[in-house]
Subunit: 224 residues, 2 copies
DNA sequence: AGTTTTTGTAATATTTTTGTAAAATACCCC
DNA sequence: GGGGTATTTTACAAAAATATTACAAAAACT
């Protein structure tokens, strides 16, 4: 059974979420503040963390930073729940390592769906299996990409870009995130580099190119 | 039992309303001026406030401002009762945070109906509930909207507009309120921008489009 | 009924965002 | 350093989103 850690201070929402997730077959542990959550995380192994960004005491974003930097828990997927839903907040949360984002109010169906896709993604990644999505196969050892049997020759940057996309399908990446992970930049810059590479990548992927969707005002992500 | 606070100076109307609401199963507390009402609100927890705008002493609008800024009572829904022809006052009241309005003279059935819909909304909102209304589901994380299973593609402005409507069904919004919250303007302007977007939104929602009602001279709101 | 006001919406204009070819630069390997 | 490739930047086209305009339709008001 999948274990979920819920970090949320509002008791009404907490109860509602717990009730619904348990009904859906998840085991839920909850904390009403970030400090407690951190302590509990040392003892309990959870598969996913649901985090409200507006918490008393230690702020949600700080909590996220700590989780992402602590051995043993740094790889647990985190889904943000927040009343703030300005573009800016979404981008910030994603850039601090959140896996997905759910503005309040949200429907339980959508929450459950998100949990499931994040879990599926997690399992897949752990298999260490050859990276494959929608018929695009990536051979990590030889840095080669195949689609419909034929090889697609990608440059290094293109390969890294595609790898990020394909290792987390359905996940949204901001342009800055891509610049960080693929290019190693850490400042915000407003170049068209990402767009340019997405463009050539799409072209090289041929008809499959359009699985790379542009997410208006945010960035890119792959999706069926 | 639901408690109602009635703030009304005319004794005839007051008695009439009290009598009828009690007959409908509400518990009614009344005050004939705003100061008394404020004092009483500190002691009694009420579910809804009926406010006559034309009061002696402290004006109704000031009372509304105080209520909306005082912890503990700021979330109590307020329904404005106002003599007819005071369009301007109604707009001002809505923009000061009133939930609905009722022009005098009004029938008791309509008053009871309004009270009930406002109460129903209150309960719903507290659950932190899913953003869904009349079969229109909104997925905040990906800014996607579904209706009857199919996705409806909305632009950001359209999405924000719909979100506001759907998070408070039956609530009336003035054009300026919408301009403030969705567009971030804070001055009064007389563009047709809101109308234009409402129009495209209605069209995109298809048959469900007509849940967005236009409230003559005031603005818009969704309603079954 | 005629006039005025208000709302609906198509059409147009403007702005913003994204796509991409091509030029410019950097990199790499002899 | 030269030739080739990879990468970044530039510049502009294309597309999408948004705002405005203009006018028809509806409603409200004499």
């Amino acid at each position: 059974m999948n274990k979920i850690m819920l970090v949320e201070d509002d008791p009404d929402i907490r109860d509602l979420v717990i009730y619904n997730l348990q009904k859906n077959g998840f085991s839920v542990t909850s904390a009403d503040n970030a400090n407690d959550a951190l302590i509990m995380l040392d003892d309990i192994k959870v598969d996913i963390i649901l985090l409200d960004l507006m918490l008393p005491g230690l702020k949600g974003m700080q909590f996220l930073d700590i989780v992402r930097n602590r051995e043993g828990i740094k790889n647990i997927p985190v889904i943000i729940i927040s009343a703030k839903n300005a573009e800016h907040d979404i981008i910030t949360a994603l850039e601090h390592g959140a896996d997905d984002y759910l503005p309040k109010p949200f429907s339980m169906e959508i929450l459950a769906a998100k949990i499931n896709t994040v879990l599926r993604r997690g399992v897949k990644a752990e298999e260490g299996a050859p990276l494959e999505y929608m018929g695009i196969k990536m051979d990590g050892s030889r840095r080669k990409v195949f689609s419909d049997g034929g090889e697609i020759r990608l440059t290094h940057k293109e390969y890294e870009l595609l790898k990020i996309f394909i290792s987390s399908p359905n996940k949204i990446f901001t342009r800055n995130q891509l610049l960080n992970t693929v290019w190693g930049y850490d400042s915000e810059s407003m170049t068209r580099t990402v767009d340019s590479h997405v463009s050539t990548l799409r072209k090289k992927l041929g008809p499959k190119g359009d699985i790379i969707k542009s997410i208006p005002k945010i960035g890119y992500g792959v999706e069926e």
